[in-house]
Symmetry: C2
Subunit: 160 residues, 2 copies
């Protein structure tokens, strides 16, 4: 279930970037500091019918923006991706799911640092999982939130 | 210039996977053990008009397949991606170019190992460069070539 207050911003995150939208990725759950996403196999296969590496990358990388929506103040901060490492452990022959979450204490610490320094890095490790429960890929990323530059309009729709 | 003998296989690499094709990525040069690719900014921007991280990933990751075509025997080996690290150094506001190459000695060594062991890993570091010559992202990848499984038809069109 996607909590009502997040629906507009979540829809924006999945549809405002053409390269994300065209994969057909779906958000299936979102509540405070937690989300779950699914990348459909259909439309994302390579020449030997496994999920294309780039679609797995998208499923991992998007979590910087997704957790931004449900863990940080999106009117005050913008998310940036700094570095992504993705290890392809096994071939992905089904739809692939990822869950992302952040502890409240950790989210508060990151926001506090960003308020003080204008920016704050944070790392996440994410498992991309097939419908048999196998971890097909492991994504380690470094993202950053920055205070909104003066005069910049928040790219995300306001959370009600 | 794309050497005539590579045209069919190169076209296959860029168009047979929907997730690659829909980015509009272009191969502009290919000769023995060398290629140059361009990712157009158009169709690949994020919500603040920089190139989307996933499109930069595609421009890096595809080089495993691209170098495969012009450096290895594509009727004997298949390419696999094992791990990709991408560091986003600067925002990408123009079309982005990458060049990939492999020394003959290195290509021969990799093929020899794959023939002996059935597979061989190889690493490449690639600079993604904007039209001002700035390196916007650095991709480090580990790819592998494997001997074609018995009964498997080579996915690439034959090089004439």
């Amino acid at each position: 279930m996607i909590e009502e207050k997040y629906k507009l911003a979540a829809d924006f995150a999945l549809t405002s970037i053409e390269g994300i939208k065209r994969t057909g990725i779906k958000l299936v759950e979102m509540r405070d500091r937690y989300a779950k996403l699914v990348m459909p196999l259909e439309g994302n296969v390579n020449h030997i019918n496994m999920m294309y590496a780039g679609s797995l990358f998208t499923l991992g990388e998007i979590n910087g923006g997704v957790i931004h929506i449900c863990a940080f103040d999106i009117q005050k901060f913008v998310p940036i991706v700094k570095e992504i490492n993705i290890r392809f452990r096994r071939p992905a022959f089904t739809d692939i799911t990822v869950e992302v979450s952040l502890e409240k204490e950790e989210a508060d610490r990151i926001e506090k640092e960003a308020e003080e320094k204008g920016k704050a890095d944070f790392e996440m490790e994410l498992n991309l999982v097939d419908t048999n429960g196998e971890v097909v890929s492991i994504v380690k990323g470094v993202w950053q939130i920055r205070t909104m530059p003066e005069g910049m309009e928040a790219p995300f729709p306001k959370i009600q």
